[in-house]
């Protein structure tokens, strides 16, 4: 790639530096390891939210099934960790030692074939990327080639999330069922539950997040990024400019899926278990709201949105547990009605001019993010033929 300047404006570089500073300096200093670990958990959702910015905010494809990919990544990681925790010695009291405990309870006597490869860390890391990408590709290819979009896509992805949840819960012998895969301990012999490990995992998570942000920035600043916006606003025009629109959509959907899966894998590592409650409809929609609160057009906004909503959730539910749902519900409505561009919109209209003046920079260049009011941001190309 060419020079820094070509894919990052001064504003954006500043944004990235601020996030890096917050992640690596401010938070570790301000919080004890308990809060920091919590914070690290929220950051894993930010991966999903960033994916949604690309997919939904820029590309206009609203997926209500991102939990599926978060779950796939998380489960891949959890399968590896569970196998490592299920050594014959540690599981000596089982009737079949050496297999995960929940399999033993379900009278499964040998490790199922699809668990076998997860003995290898290399395979697992690869699977975290490849499995969700392939899955997203299949869904995307089937739907986008047939021009299913907008609301229909949202509903179908939601149904897929529901199906996967029922399947995971129903096949508990292979998946751990509703309890999920719990009691994960070590990664290559390294205890992931100690405070030290949590610090390290937090930093790994943070570094990955920064890496993902940079990667997204590269994508967004490439012609593909502008194409995404173009597809959202004038899908037909893009098509009649000689692009295969479905490929663009499939790509961004797979990309978002992979980001979610990375988040899921980091979640498993930091929280120590994975369960079907992150796969279903409710978490998937919550992740959309993280993205919307941050501002659906800004990858940096998505990170802050995720952190803000989760922080509010934790504080609110600590102080007024019974009022939390009112707050969350109101937040959904407010974000849609009052400030559709979320935090980043507020920043752009109030703070950015000040920052600009302060930094002596002027002209934010041709940045689609800074476009005026988004009255019609979510073009919804529907499958229904229209006049």
């Amino acid at each position: 790639m060419t020079s820094l300047k070509s894919f990052m404006s001064r504003q954006e570089l500043l944004g990235l530096l601020v996030i890096a500073a917050v992640l690596f300096v401010v938070m570790p200093l301000a919080m004890d390891i308990f809060r920091l670990n919590l914070f690290g958990k929220y950051l894993t959702y930010a991966f999903v939210a960033i994916g949604l910015v690309l997919c939904w905010g820029k590309g206009g494809i609203l997926s209500l099934g991102q939990g599926v990919f978060f779950g796939l990544g998380g489960y891949c990681m959890a399968m590896y960790l569970k196998l490592e925790a299920s050594t014959p010695e540690a599981t000596a009291i089982q009737s079949t030692p050496g297999i995960p405990d929940f399999m033993d309870w379900n009278q499964i006597t040998a490790l199922p074939w699809f668990w076998e490869p997860f003995n290898s860390l290399t395979f697992t890391l690869l699977a975290i990327i490849v499995v969700p990408a392939v899955f997203a590709f299949i869904i995307g290819a089937a739907m986008f080639k047939r021009r299913v979009g907008g609301v229909y896509f949202a509903i179908i992805t939601q149904a897929i999330a529901a199906i996967l949840t029922i399947l995971i819960i129903g096949q508990q012998g292979y998946t751990g069922g509703v309890n999920g895969i719990t009691d994960l301990r070590t990664l290559k012999g390294w205890d992931i539950r100690t405070d030290e490990a949590k610090y390290i995992l937090y930093y790994v998570n943070g570094a990955l997040l920064i890496g993902v942000l940079v990667l997204c920035q590269i994508v967004l600043k490439s012609k593909l990024g502008r194409l995404l916006v173009a597809v959202r606003d004038q899908e037909d025009r893009v098509r009649f400019s000689g692009y295969d629109v479905s490929n663009i959509k499939i790509f961004v959907f797979c990309f978002a899926a992979v980001l979610s899966a990375i988040g899921g894998a980091m979640f498993t590592l930091q929280v120590g278990f994975m369960s079907p409650s992150f796969v279903g409809i409710v978490p998937s929609i919550e992740m959309v709201i993280f993205c919307a609160v941050g501002g659906r057009l800004s990858i940096f906004g998505a990170v802050y949105g995720t952190l803000l909503v989760n922080w509010a959730k934790t504080t609110f539910s600590e102080t007024f547990p019974e009022l939390w749902l009112f707050g969350l519900g109101a937040l959904f409505i407010a974000v849609v009605l009052v400030f559709p561009n979320g935090l980043s919109g507020l920043y752009q209209s109030y703070l950015a001019p000040l920052v600009d003046r302060f930094m002596g920079g002027k002209g934010r260049g041709s940045d689609p993010d800074t476009s005026p009011p988004a009255a019609d941001l979510t073009a919804a190309p529907s499958a229904k033929p229209a006049e």
Binding site: F34, W105, N179, T182, E322
Partner: protein, 417 residues
């Protein structure tokens, strides 16, 4: 920057737990009940002052599980209030910190960690679903906390950091099946459940026991949580004509299941088929409607209608605190036992230290339990009687049978080791 106790971290095997218990039982013989200064009864930095001790209550008050967990929260608060009225534990008033698990397992883990690490509570009363317990278990083991878990559950677990105040599956299942086989001459069973670990494991135990008795299982089926259409399975039941419908349906599905069963003309007040459940307490009947479940049998350790002095006091105190029209189910009663068992263990240990409380726990007896007499087993579950109740239209169970002896908890039954 913080003092996390260096403790027995990994899960102890059952054998070492037993050995440890025996060794310290002697050391503890002269436990004192008199008040003493905070640092003497608390060497590990728990939230204990000279006149207060903090504990945690960790249940869902929001989300789908709030329906079930409300009763447990009420029972725990009642027990804490009563203990305080009697002068507290080791002369210290109990203060509780309530956290919301929000029906979300990582939230449970997160809040458990907060209670243990930030609040340094001396004990936590909480969790309801197995999934939430599985999620907090590593936290309790890592940070060495004490959890009193109230729900009847599938077993297959035994942690040094949990006291299971509800029954594990074998206690509930075996007595019930023996009873219908012997008293009602049941020979064929249709097993039915919501699709998750407790019903599936319980039905496996049930199937084993039924087959051991030489009887037959004619069907076994599971429906997703929240499923509301049971007409197909009811038709299958009609076709197979089992003597017993063994139902472990939970939550909202329950209501649909019993209403549809009744509507389909399966009259449970007749001899055949009879219905035996281990999942419907008085709490659930409120939603189902007494008229829809009349004639069903339930096998569990407690019914609100139990006729003994302890229970009468408990029921009236509960109603006084939470309202006249409240009902009390098995889990609610088990939750009520939590604070009392903890108090007894702390006083036996003469200390709030988790390790000492743990060692003091096995053998703790409660003669004042609403269900009657209970005792903590070495495996941290309770010895308790199992009872069969007959559901009446008023939403209460009528006791028709109780085991003569306490049932021994056996969380790892044969074939599940």
């Amino acid at each position: 920057m913080r003092r996390v106790k260096d403790i027995v971290q990994s899960r102890m095997s059952r054998r070492s737990l037993l050995a440890g218990t025996a060794a310290t039982a002697i050391l503890m013989a002269a436990g004192t009940v008199s008040p003493s200064f905070a640092d003497e009864v608390n060497t590990t930095g728990l939230a204990v002052t000279d006149d207060t001790v903090q504990v945690g209550i960790l249940h869902s008050v929001t989300g789908t599980m709030a329906i079930s967990e409300t009763g447990s929260v009420q029972a725990e608060k009642l027990a804490i209030e009563q203990i305080n009225a009697m002068g507290g534990v080791l002369g210290r008033k109990i203060e509780y910190i309530q956290e919301d698990g929000a029906s979300d397992w990582p939230t449970f883990a997160e809040k458990a960690k907060k209670l243990l690490v930030n609040d340094k509570v001396a004990a936590v009363f909480g969790c309801w679903t197995s999934a939430s317990r599985k999620a907090v278990l590593p936290v309790f083991e890592q940070y060495n906390g004490m959890l009193y878990y109230p729900t009847f559950y599938e077993g297959l677990e035994q942690s040094p950091n949990v006291i299971y105040t509800g029954q594990e599956a074998t206690q509930q299942i075996i007595a019930g099946i023996d009873w219908v086989a012997k008293e009602k001459g049941a020979k064929s069973f249709y097993l039915l459940g919501s699709d998750y670990i407790w019903p599936r494991t319980s039905n496996k135990i049930a199937r084993k026991h039924i087959e051991k008795l030489g009887h037959k299982v004619v069907g076994e089926e599971y429906y997703p949580l929240g499923h509301t259409q049971f007409n197909s399975v009811i038709n299958k039941i009609k076709l197979k004509k089992p003597d017993v419908i063994y139902a472990i349906v939970v939550g909202g599905s329950n209501v649909a299941f019993y209403k549809q069963l009744k509507a389909a003309g399966i009259d449970m007040t007749k001899e055949k088929p009879l219905l035996l459940t281990i999942s419907v307490t008085e709490d659930e009947i409120r939603g189902i409607g007494g008229e829809n479940i009349e004639g069903a049998y339930a096998a569990m350790k407690y019914f609100q209608s139990l006729d003994n002095e302890n229970n009468k006091e408990f029921v009236s105190a509960f109603k006084e605190m939470w309202g006249e029209d409240i009902v009390i189910g098995d889990v609610t009663q088990a939750a009520y036992l939590g604070p009392w068992l903890w108090k007894a263990a702390v006083e036996k240990a003469g200390s709030f230290d988790i390790d000492k409380v743990r060692l003091a726990s096995p053998g703790i007896e409660l003669t004042t339990a609403p269900e009657g007499y209970v005792r903590v087993h070495e495996n941290h579950h309770l010895w308790s009687k199992t009872r069969i109740g007959l559901a009446k239209t008023d939403g209460q169970y009528e006791l028709v049978y109780e085991t003569a002896d306490l049932m021994e908890p056996d969380p790892f039954p044969e074939g599940y080791q």
